[in-house]
Amino acid sequence: MPVVRLRQTITHVVALYATPRQPRLMPRPLLVSPRIQAGFPSPAADYIEEVLDLNDLLVRNPPATFYVRVQGDSMVDALIFDGDILVVDRSLDATPGRIVVAAADGDLLVKRLRKIRGRLALCSENAARPDYRPVYLDRTQDSTVWGVVTGLVRKF
């Protein structure tokens, strides 16, 4: 699968993955254990609810969906960590409140889109770093929303 390395920036997108044309993951049966809250579920209690294909789950509109790998710590309060892979759908409208990939000053950033006193801004979410200031879209040259983040993939 092709990977594009993007220039490293303080905040975020560093690589891009092509989405497979045909899903390559084998659909996995989704096991649901309704009675178990914690501890080890008994295999006998499991039953197959449906077949889960991760592509179906994560990708709603294949030609408009991109995977990007992120770098940086500005979104840790939104549980987006350095090295995570985000699923980005470019066909969705970016509305305030959504996490977006945005182009600002030539960089691709991952931020929460907010409306602050009537102005659209890209906001970091890291309480430990108050120095990450909002980026106002009307004050930043050539800034546009690139796509809407719809999912996150992380391997342990």
Partner: protein, 348 residues
């Protein structure tokens, strides 16, 4: 029902792909280089404005165009982006034929407002993939292709143009403003021959006596002229994809004067082409070898290409190499400054 064909293609495709993922490149002169970083194979509008030509070896640009960003090509990325565009087109249009990596014909016959449809497609591709496209619409493939050329060259049209929306008189004025060389299927060589006959513009070609075209240039150009006039001669399904060959070529890093050196180069390229053939699981029906002098140097120019059909289809390196060398021997003796040598195999 009135036949409506649209041609949609991506502007400066490779450069546009790179820009999607690096917004810094927006508005800057950018070129994408060929496989071996030898030549510019794609140019942004800004790079074109600097006079950088298609296929131009990279070094002269370095001297001339400071501030030009040159990128190595990333074909897996371009293929992925192409798949996205083609998928969007084929999901939207009643029928689609892919013509090349960055262009496709669509049959819009029966679509109520073709221009509005074209605009919707253009906006959708821009939003979903980030790529800018132009859409040309006409009653024949040739007219659609021409309309696409107009859409691309006139910014006020905003990338979408339906040539059938013009009155016949306005259409004639438009065709008279287009060089005959811009017509689909009319190459540079053909253009020179046509000009010698006084056929300068697309309008001249349309109006030229069909018998004259057929007897001088064959039935293909006659069809082109008929298509320009709105008479469909080619169906969407008949379109041959633009690329049915594998090409391995490269500019030499310095001038080549010896026959032996040239022979080595041809062998190298033929074995690379054969590898590609095998990787694709195809076989070649014919081999073509060409050499040419550096077109960017003020020296007497030499160019020659020869093609031979293989007795049986093959993906076998020694067999292809034998054919290539046989060609080359018959092909030429004195190699001047040689700039390029190519060994494509026409895939079946």
């Amino acid at each position: 029902m009135v036949r409506r064909i649209a041609l949609c293609d991506v502007n400066n495709f490779y450069v546009s792909c790179e820009r999607v993922f690096d917004p810094r490149l927006e508005g800057q002169p950018v070129v994408v280089l060929s496989n071996n970083d030898g030549c510019a194979v794609a140019r942004s509008a800004e790079a074109k404005a600097l006079g950088i030509r298609m296929g131009e070896p990279w070094h002269p640009i370095g001297e001339r165009g400071r501030g030009v960003t040159a990128l190595s090509s990333n074909y897996p990325l371009y293929a992925d982006m192409s798949n996205r565009v083609m998928r969007i087109l084929s999901e939207a249009a009643p029928a689609t034929e892919i013509y090349s990596i960055d262009e496709a014909f669509m049959d819009l016959t029966g679509v109520p407002l073709p221009t509005a449809f074209g605009r919707t497609l253009k906006d959708r591709i821009r939003q979903w993939t980030g790529l800018p496209v132009c859409v040309g619409i006409g009653s024949t493939l040739t007219r659609a292709k021409l309309a696409n050329h107009i859409a691309k060259s006139r910014p006020e049209l905003d990338g979408v143009f339906d040539i059938e929306a013009l009155s016949p008189a306005a259409c004639t004025v438009l065709l008279a403003s287009v060089d005959v060389g811009k017509v689909w299927g009319v190459g540079r060589r053909l253009q020179a021959k046509l000009q010698a006959l006084g056929i300068q513009t697309a309008a001249d070609l349309r109006n030229a006596p069909k018998a004259l075209l057929r007897s001088n240039f064959g039935v293909v150009l006659e069809r082109t002229a008929r298509e320009l006039d709105g008479e469909p001669c080619q169906a969407l399904e008949q379109i041959e994809p633009a690329r049915q060959q594998i090409m391995c070529s490269r500019s030499f890093s310095r001038e080549v004067h010896s026959y032996d050196e040239l022979r080595q180069a041809v062998l190298t390229y033929i074995s690379r082409a054969a590898e590609k053939l095998r990787a694709e699981g195809s076989v070649a029906e014919a081999v073509q070898v060409f050499v040419r002098t550096n077109a960017f140097k003020a020296v007497p120019q030499y160019a020659r290409g020869v093609t031979v059909a293989l007795t049986g289809s093959s993906d076998d390196t020694p067999m292809l190499a034998q054919a290539a060398l046989r060609l080359q021997e018959g092909g030429h003796d004195a190699a001047g400054p040689v700039a390029e040598s190519t060994a494509p195999g026409d895939a079946v």
